[in-house]
């Protein structure tokens, strides 16, 4: 056998570095060869990075996707707030049957100690999630906030001058304002294992995007009864890199002092995000809006 020489090492190392880069870039090219869906998102759905800690030394800008789920009707909605993003709410549609369809073994009863232990030990799985932009789920969230405001206003009317009800109405107004103007309109509305069948159900490629994300089942006590629910614990890609050509749009926005009537910073922008064949996103267009 020929002896391993320094030249062999040099060639092997260079080939390894080049081949790894080539595989990664070919994957990117394949993903971007055809958008699977394209969503037009705004500052409501995408957050600019914070400018503290290590981020201060990071010259790159990545926008984080703000997704929500419509909370179960029986949850104490306004403790968490309907505008709550990310982890926190168990959606109605993510029931036992759906979990079974997603590949979780949910055959054990959750009301026995063994069953409880079994579900407590269950960890999250990566599945396909359907993101809906400004669709029925968003309208339901808005209607709920409006209904809550009306209920609080009726209570205030029945108890005029009472500080507690004045405060509650003020909070409900703020929640309605947030829901109407600020909160993300991007909702996770379904999950599955097969992208084609999900796409057949959600055909509009400008309203529905299919992405990868994680689901975590959990047994919780609802009305003193153990019940199996599930949470969406995150998207596999939760941040979207801003290419240098759009930097001049976002760099000033990071320093913007523009706030809404509640003092919350709201620098406005619009971004077209495409999701490719491998369901990986990228920015195709961006503009700062007035």
């Amino acid at each position: 056998m020929k002896k391993w020489s320094r030249t062999h090492t040099l060639v092997a190392g260079i080939v390894l570095i080049l081949a790894t880069n080539a595989v990664a870039l070919l994957g990117v090219a394949y993903n971007r060869s055809e958008p699977e869906s394209t969503l037009r998102l705004t500052e409501r759905e995408l957050n600019l990075p914070y400018n503290w800690g290590f981020e201060k030394e990071n010259s790159g800008i990545a926008l984080s996707l703000q997704w929500r789920v419509l909370a179960r009707q029986d949850e104490v909605r306004f403790v968490l707030g309907t505008s709550y993003t990310g982890f926190g709410n168990a959606p109605d549609w993510l029931d036992k049957a759906k979990l079974a369809a997603l590949g979780f073994d949910v055959s054990k009863p959750e009301d026995t100690p063994q069953g409880r232990m079994y579900y407590d030990k269950m960890l999250s799985k990566e599945v396909l999630l359907v993101l809906e932009l400004d669709g029925p789920a968003c309208r339901v969230a808005l209607a709920r906030a409006q209904q809550h405001l009306q209920e609080e206003q009726a209570l205030l009317k029945a108890n005029p001058g009472k500080k507690e009800f004045e405060e509650r109405t003020k909070n409900a107004k703020r929640e309605f304002y947030q829901e109407e103007r600020m909160s993300s309109r991007l909702f996770v509305v379904d999950a599955g294992r097969d992208a084609a069948s999900l796409r057949a159900r959600y055909a509009d490629r400008h309203r529905y995007a299919i992405v990868r994300g994680k689901i975590q089942p959990q047994v919780v006590d609802i009305n003193h009864k153990p019940e199996l629910v599930a949470y969406i614990t995150g998207l596999s890609i939760s941040e979207i890199n801003v290419p240098a050509i759009y930097r001049q749009i976002f760099e000033p926005l990071r320093k913007s002092t523009l706030t809404n009537q509640y003092g919350v910073a709201t620098p406005p922008f619009e971004v077209s995000v495409a999701f490719g064949k491998r369901l990986e996103p990228w920015i195709t267009e961006a503009k700062g809006s007035k």
């Binding site: 092997a12 990664a24 290419p243």
Partner: protein
């Protein structure tokens, strides 16, 4: 005959120094006596060997040089880590200002250029300290290269990235005789095997650390790897594999011995904790026995460290709350003394076995 490695050359130089000292003693005690010609021949031979080793490998010829070398080894290790961090933050500081093609080009070129530079340094650096620095920086550049491609193009995180990282680290380790890079490669491989074990168990790959049992197959693999694969040419490599194998076995066991809920096992947490406590004690005791039997000092030491950790953790659980602190620490001290006595007995038994074997 194959050319010795730097470690082999250093070992021979140390042996020569010890031999010369003992020979002086033996001559003073009139046990042996060499003629001047014999002594001269011996000294000339040793001088030639040492001069050759110094020229080829820049070895330490005396104790003072060895102490300075230890300082250089520590400095090169810390320097390698600091330079790797510096490269990372340098890119972090400026990458956002570059266009995408320039970002990709700079990442690729930094990995390739540092690789070639390390290769060039290796040809001129007999000590290996600068090669280690270069190799570590190259490894950091390559890790940065692939992870930043993921960030730039929003690629789904994958455990497959660990494979090329491990491959580059092993390439450096085996061709430049670098144990630091061997450790980096082993860590990548442990992470990959554990992530795959978790995935086969139905987990999302990044959650593999939440079930410590996922590390066990990787631990067994690392511990056994030097058995079929001959590492005679690579001094200390087999020991590094075995130490990492044991750490990967006992550290998750220690976690499970105190946090049974993290286990895959569908039994009560207290039972799981009890099982892993027994596993920890028996396993580390077996490691000490095996290490002593096979003359693997690193296995004995790792076994002793984990046995003591398992024991002291248990003592803490049992007695920290109920005992006065002076008594608690007295028990710890007495246990240490007992441990020394047991190890001395073991050593004596070993000597007897050796004597028996010799007879």
């Amino acid at each position: 005959m194959r050319a010795p490695s730097r470690t082999d050359a250093q070992q021979r130089a140390d042996d020569i120094r010890i031999f010369q000292r003992e020979l002086d003693r033996l001559e003073r005690e009139n046990v042996v006596s060499f003629s001047e010609t014999q002594k001269r021949a011996l000294m000339d031979h040793h001088e030639r060997l040492l001069a050759q080793y110094t020229q080829d490998y820049d070895i330490d010829r005396d104790v003072q040089a060895k102490q300075l070398s230890l300082g250089m080894r520590i400095a090169s290790f810390l320097g390698a880590l600091a330079l790797a961090a510096s490269v990372f933050f340098l890119f972090y500081q400026f990458w956002g200002l570059l266009s995408t093609p320039w970002q990709v080009a700079s990442l690729l070129l930094s990995a390739a250029a540092t690789f070639v530079a390390t290769f060039w340094i290796q040809g001129r650096d007999a000590t290996g300290y600068f090669t280690k620095l270069g190799a570590m920086v190259t490894f950091a550049c390559f890790v940065l290269n692939i992870s930043m491609l993921g960030q730039i193009f929003n690629i789904t995180p994958s455990d497959k990235a660990l494979i090329p990282w491990a491959a580059l680290a092993f390439l450096f380790a085996y061709t430049c005789d670098l144990r630091l890079l061997l450790a980096a490669g082993i860590l990548c491989l442990i992470a990959f095997v554990s992530a795959r074990t978790g995935t086969w168990g139905g987990l999302y790959w990044l959650d593999f650390g939440r079930r410590p049992e996922n590390f066990f197959p990787a631990a067994v693999l690392m511990f056994l790897f030097p058995q079929p694969v001959n590492h005679a040419r690579f001094a200390g490599f087999a020991a590094v594999y075995r130490v990492f194998g044991l750490i990967t076995l006992f550290l998750p066991a220690l976690v499970l011995a105190n946090w049974g809920q993290a286990s895959y096992l569908m039994v009560d947490s207290d039972v799981v904790e009890g099982m892993y406590q027994v596993f920890g004690f028996v396993g580390s005791a077996l490691a000490i026995w095996l290490g002593a039997r096979r003359h693997w000092p690193e296995v004995v030491n790792t076994g002793v460290i984990f046995f003591v950790i398992f024991l002291y953790t248990k003592f803490y659980d049992w007695w920290w709350e109920i005992m006065p602190k002076y008594l608690f620490f007295l028990v710890l001290g007495l246990t240490a003394i007992l441990f020394i006595v047991v190890l001395r007995r073991l050593r004596t038994t070993n000597y007897k076995l050796l004597e028996g074997g010799a007879a």
